[in-house]
C-alpha cells in the first residue's frame, strides 16, 4: 500500500481538531464510573460540571479545553506500507500548522529560550512525531494534544536496586500528593518502570495516554496497576484537588528491562480531558477513531 502524502497532511490537520473536541468513549465511560461511585458532595458537583462540558463541547462544536497542548503524533507503520518517511514527517507538520491557522487554534508552542510564539503550534522538534511498527497492515496515526497542567507534573527518579519496588510505589503516591489539583484530576497516572532514563519517561507518557480499560502487557506491571489505582484513590485529593474519592481514573504502568544497577521510575499524568484521536489508512481509505 502506497500512502498519499497530501492525504497525510489533511488527516494530521483533522486529527488535531477532532482530538480537541470529542473525548474518546473509554474516557467518557471512565467519568460515568467515577460519578457513580463518588461519595463526596463537592466532588460530585465537580464531576457533573466536567460531564456537562463534554456535552457542551459536542453541541457547540467547540474545544473541550482551552489548552491546545503540545501536539504529539504517533505513527504506526504496518506490513507492506510504502511511504517516504521524511515526506511523512513534513506532511504531519504542515497538517498541524494548518489546523492551528485554519480553525483557528491557540498556538501553545514557543521557542524555549526566546519564548517566541510562531502561531503555528510548531517549533524546533515540535510536534514530536514518534514512529513504531506493527505486524498488522495499514498505517495508523494517533494524535495526542498534551495539556501543560498535567505535563508540568512529570517526574523521574533513578532509584537504587536496594530500594526495591517499595521505592517505586512510594514515588507514585508522592507524585500524586505533590500534583494535588494542578494536574486537573481525575487523572490517568502514567508510570514508567525500568529502561534508560529517557525510555523510562517515554514509557510513563505512553502509559498516561493509553486508553482506559487497557492493561499493561507485563503481568507484574498489570498487578501494580490495580494496587496503585486503589491506593492513590485512598488519598482524597479528588477532582480538581478539592477533595473526594475520584483522584485518578486509573494508574497505568509500562515496563522495560533495565540495568542490574538501576531501578528507574517516571511519572507522567494525563488530565481529565484525556484527549486523543486516530486515523487508520488502509487500501479502502481513511477511517477515523480514537
Amino acid at each position: 500500500m502506497r500512502v498519499d502524502i497530501q492525504q497525510v497532511e489533511d488527516v494530521a490537520r483533522e486529527l488535531y481538531i477532532r482530538a480537541l473536541k470529542v473525548l474518546p468513549p473509554d474516557v467518557k465511560a471512565g467519568f460515568e464510573r467515577l460519578a457513580a461511585s463518588e461519595t463526596d458532595a463537592t466532588a460530585q458537583g465537580v464531576l457533573g460540571t466536567m460531564i456537562a462540558n463534554i456535552r457542551v463541547a459536542e453541541d457547540t462544536d467547540n474545544l473541550l479545553c482551552q489548552d491546545t497542548g503540545i501536539p504529539i503524533y504517533n505513527v504506526t507503520i504496518g506490513r507492506g506500507v510504502e511511504v517516504d518517511g521524511a515526506e511523512l514527517e513534513r506532511a504531519i507538520r504542515r497538517g498541524c500548522e494548518r489546523a492551528t491557522r485554519e480553525h483557528p487554534l491557540r498556538s501553545s508552542v514557543v521557542h524555549p529560550i526566546t519564548r517566541r510564539n510562531e502561531h503555528t503550534s510548531c517549533g524546533p522538534g515540535v510536534p514530536p512525531i514518534h514512529f513504531g511498527f506493527s505486524d498488522a497492515g495499514g498505517l495508523t496515526i494517533e494524535m495526542v494534544p498534551k495539556g501543560s497542567g498535567s505535563e508540568n507534573n512529570s517526574w523521574l527518579r533513578m532509584a537504587l536496586p536496594s530500594e526495591g519496588i517499595d521505592a517505586i510505589k512510594t514515588f507514585v503516591v508522592d507524585c500524586v500528593l505533590d500534583a494535588g489539583g494542578k494536574t486537573c484530576p481525575p487523572t490517568i497516572v502514567g508510570v514508567g518502570i525500568g529502561g534508560t532514563s529517557d525510555l523510562c519517561v517515554a514509557l510513563a507518557k505512553r502509559a498516561a495516554t493509553r486508553p482506559l480499560g487497557t492493561a499493561c502487557p507485563d503481568p507484574e506491571g498489570a498487578a501494580l496497576e490495580s494496587s496503585l489505582t486503589e491506593a492513590v484513590n485512598m488519598l482524597g485529593v479528588g477532582p480538581q484537588g478539592l477533595g473526594g474519592d475520584s483522584t485518578a481514573f486509573a494508574v497505568h504502568v509500562e515496563v522495560a528491562a533495565t540495568h542490574i544497577t538501576m531501578n528507574p521510575v517516571a511519572v507522567n499524568m494525563q488530565c481529565h480531558s484525556a484527549r486523543r484521536a486516530s486515523a487508520r489508512f488502509t487500501p479502502a481509505g481513511v477511517e477515523y477513531g480514537f
Binding site: V56, L63, C65, P104, H119, D166, S227, Q240
Partner: protein, 202 residues
C-alpha cells in the same frame, strides 16, 4: 455557604464577605491574565492602560479568531474557546496584582499557595475556583472580548472580557486565611502512611 452575584468592580468589604465554600457568579468585566503578561508587568516594567481596581482576573490565554471590528467585536477578536489555566505557576504575582493594580478576585484552577493566602488576608481578596478543563462551558459565559492590551504577547495578551452569568465559581481561598487546597492537601498527606501500608511498603 452563601451564593453571591457580584457585579464587578467590587469593594474591599464585598471581597471580605466571601467565605470558603460560598459560591460566586460574576457579572460585567473580567480581565484575563497569564504568565507572559504578568512577567511583562511585574518583572519587565511594562504597564497597562487598563484600570483593574476592584476587578476580577482569570488565569487564561484564550483561543480567539480575528474578525472585522464591529460593535459586537470591538477589538477585532471573537472568542473561540476561553478556559482557565493552572494558577500555581503564577503564585508570586498575586501580591503585586493586588497591591499595584488593585485586583480583588483571582479566578483560576488548582489553587494558589501561602503567599497568595496572606495577600487575600492583608489586602482583602479571594480565589474563585473554576472547574479546570471545562472551557467549552466557560466560553458560553463570555459575551465579548471588549478590549485587549499588551497584544504583542498574543495569545498571552492582557484580555478584557465582558461576562454574563460567569459561574457558579467556588470560593476556595478567602480573606480569613481559609484555603480548601491546604485543607485537602493536609488531609491527603495524613493518609500517606496508611496508603503506603496498603501497598505493603515497609
Amino acid at each position: 455557604m452563601a451564593h453571591h452575584v457580584l457585579q464587578t468592580p467590587i469593594t474591599e468589604a464585598q471581597a471580605r464577605e466571601l467565605r470558603v465554600n460560598d459560591t460566586v457568579t460574576l457579572e460585567g468585566t473580567l480581565f484575563g491574565i497569564r504568565d507572559a503578561n504578568q512577567i511583562a508587568l511585574f518583572d519587565k516594567g511594562r504597564s497597562t492602560r487598563f484600570d483593574m481596581r476592584g476587578h476580577a482576573a482569570i488565569h487564561t490565554a484564550p483561543n480567539v479568531k480575528k474578525v472585522p471590528p464591529s460593535p459586537e467585536h470591538p477589538t477585532g477578536y471573537a472568542p473561540v474557546c476561553v478556559g482557565t489555566t493552572t494558577s500555581a505557576r503564577m503564585e508570586r504575582f498575586t501580591g503585586p496584582l493586588m497591591e499595584k493594580l488593585g485586583v480583588r478576585l483571582i479566578v483560576g484552577k488548582g489553587g494558589l499557595g501561602k503567599g497568595s493566602s496572606e495577600a487575600f488576608e492583608r489586602l482583602g481578596g479571594a480565589y474563585l475556583a473554576v472547574i479546570g478543563g471545562t472551557a467549552a462551558l466557560e466560553t458560553t459565559w463570555i459575551e465579548a472580548i471588549e478590549d485587549v492590551d499588551l497584544d504583542d504577547l498574543n495569545p498571552e495578551s492582557l484580555w478584557k472580557f465582558r461576562v454574563r452569568g460567569f459561574g457558579p465559581l467556588l470560593v476556595a481561598m478567602d480573606s480569613f486565611g481559609g484555603s480548601l487546597y491546604r485543607e485537602v492537601d493536609s488531609k491527603a498527606r495524613a493518609r500517606r502512611a496508611n496508603t503506603l501500608a496498603s501497598l505493603g511498603v515497609k
